[in-house]
Amino acid sequence: MSAPRLPLHRRLREYGLDSVTLLVIPGVLFVLALFIYPFFYGLVLSFQPKAGDWLANYRKFFAEPFLYDTIGITLAIAVPATLLNVVLSVPVALRVRLLRRQRLLTTILVIPITLGTVMVAEGLLTYLGPRGWLNRTLLEFGLVDSPVRLVHNYWGVMLSLVITGFPFTFLLTLSYVTGIDPALEQAGAVLGARPRERFRRILLPLLAPGLAITLALAFVQAFTVFPSAILLGAPAGPTRVISIVAYQAAFEQYDYSMASAIAMLMAAVQLLIITLLLAARTLLFRGPASSGKG
């Protein structure tokens, strides 16, 4: 004798599906329309080159040093900038955690994010330029004989990435740091561990999963650098990042297919790095960073 079959909506509810589930539809449509569709459109477009077979764009990219070098150039900017931002964020966040006026400092640090890269780039251009305040001051005090070149090269882009990227990594890191129960460090101290050892054996392992996420997000931000690479860098040479060649392909040569191929390669590099980071993260402890049942 079989049990009476429940009506369909009751059976669906067993799986967590009911009328409330319908509320995800706008979100799903949004993601489909603005993310999934453009992505696959670009992917398909990249396999439809203006000339040659379906892989012609990719073959062209890897045949011309002028194009494939951009991966290396971009990584050479994005990786150090990301690491620098995250490595700087940790000690600053550890210190800020103890401050009472945290909100003021946090506000000051958030300002560069709200200003946007272009405005920061414009500001840096004047400030760091050969006739900017910095160089004038250095010359005035005789610290240098000729103006230091800090813009229209690698360092200009680097500085801009640190200024706009640091607040982002700092805020993320701060939230991870404040999630760690201060009693854990105290326990470490009472057990004889000095600050370095406490950092290495208690804080760092508990922070590491969060830092992996921070690294991944900061890397994506830095890898897609565009405005500052043009405004503050040397877009014809040392800071000829991958987004510039994608732009040129699309809007100077009107080769959308090639531009899509470059964009796909950008995505592939980012995906590779993020996969590596997240794979490393699975090896780490990911439980709550506090203790006890509370």
Binding site: V190, L191, K293
Partner: protein, 350 residues
């Protein structure tokens, strides 16, 4: 790199104070803890007892006075150099380390050889009966087990002094009584001096050799549990030690004690300190006996059944409430007669 010697005679707090801005969390606290002694810091929440413990541990700087371990001045050392064991209120177990590595942490920072660490961690885990849980993470343990790990981690380094900050407050009532016995067992096995912070007078009475009652950052009384229970020196200590019946009365010195008036009845009490014409009378609910010929007349207003006995509130003719305990069934509205022995009626200056 002054690591404190394992063996010691006494820990002394001399005029220790700690201010937070304008707030005096700790004022002129003096205490001597001898080797092997179990001392409880007892007081209501916010009285400064945890501040005192953190000052001893080195987690807080003192703003006045000094702390000595025998002849060595401690308050200028960081927590790393004091070599004490500490059990935190929320246990503060390292969530990313196994039980074994948590317990071994203090030995690793001392750079002990690997085989010595393994042996001593095993001993400590056996002491707290957690041998079978050694390779679990703290998150996989129950509250009581986490508590045991915290104790093992604190005692494995053979510290001269173990500090415990309300270690049982996160446990349920049954477990609390069990762990209390466990702490006493471990203390008697290891014999390490212990300073134990609690707001639970029952815990302090049952565990400690001596109790320091702290109120508003000041020491109110230091003494053996029996003394504190039977003869609190001040009215606020009496209140904290469970003398729930507190009321004002006229006082008159007579042969055999001090005559006070309780609900119109003239009773003989025991004076604590010098008493003027007005006094405060303190009686424990347990010390009020329900007898037919009792001199205090009252009417029961609240009666709570507590299993073996009743806790009740009765109002006397003059409107004052009396808390008392009864072995026999009583009901709201009953007219009762109560009495108390002179030694159990404490009289303080008003």
């Amino acid at each position: 790199m002054a690591v404190v010697s394992r063996d010691f005679r006494e820990l002394r707090l001399e005029h220790v104070s700690r201010d937070f801005g304008q707030f005096h969390a700790l004022r002129d606290v003096n205490l001597t803890v001898r080797r092997g002694e179990f001392v409880a810091l007892l007081g209501p929440s916010g009285c400064g007892k945890s501040t005192a413990l953190n000052c001893i541990a080195g987690l807080l700087q003192v703003t006045g006075g000094a702390i000595y371990l025998d002849d060595q001045r401690l308050d200028e050392l960081g927590p790393e150099d004091r070599g004490f064991g500490m059990v935190f209120q929320n246990y503060a177990l390292f969530p990313h380390m196994t039980v074994r590595r948590n317990v071994g942490f203090g030995l690793v920072t001392q750079r002990r050889p690997r085989d010595e660490i393994a042996r001593r961690v095993d001993e400590a885990l056996a002491l707290v009966r957690l041998e079978t849980q050694a390779d679990k993470l703290p998150g996989q343990l129950s509250g009581g087990q986490q508590q045991r790990v915290a104790i093992a981690r604190a005692v494995v380094v053979a510290p001269p002094l173990v500090l415990m900050d309300e270690p049982l407050s996160n446990l349920d009532a049954k477990l609390r009584v069990e762990m209390r016995a466990e702490i006493r067992r471990i203390h008697s096995m290891l014999g390490c001096a212990t300073i134990y912070v609690t707001h639970d007078q029952e815990e302090a009475l049952s565990l400690a050799d001596r109790i320091l009652v702290m109120i508003e950052g000041q020491t109110r009384q230091i003494g053996a549990p029996e003394d504190l229970y039977a003869r609190p020196e001040t009215i606020d200590v009496a209140e904290f030690m469970g003398y729930r019946n507190l009321f004002e009365s006229d006082a008159e010195t007579v042969a055999g004690g001090l005559a006070v008036s309780i609900g119109g009845a003239r009773m003989i009490g025991t004076p604590v300190g010098a008493i003027g014409a007005r006094a405060t009378v303190a009686i424990r609910p347990d010390d009020l006996r329900l007898t037919g010929d009792g001199r205090i007349a009252a009417t029961v207003e609240i009666a709570e059944y507590h299993g073996r006995d009743f806790y009740a509130v009765a109002r006397m003719d003059d409107g004052i409430e009396l808390y008392f305990r009864s072995d026999t069934r009583i009901a709201v509205g009953d007219a009762v007669r109560l009495d108390a022995a002179p030694a159990r009626i404490l009289v303080y200056a008003a």
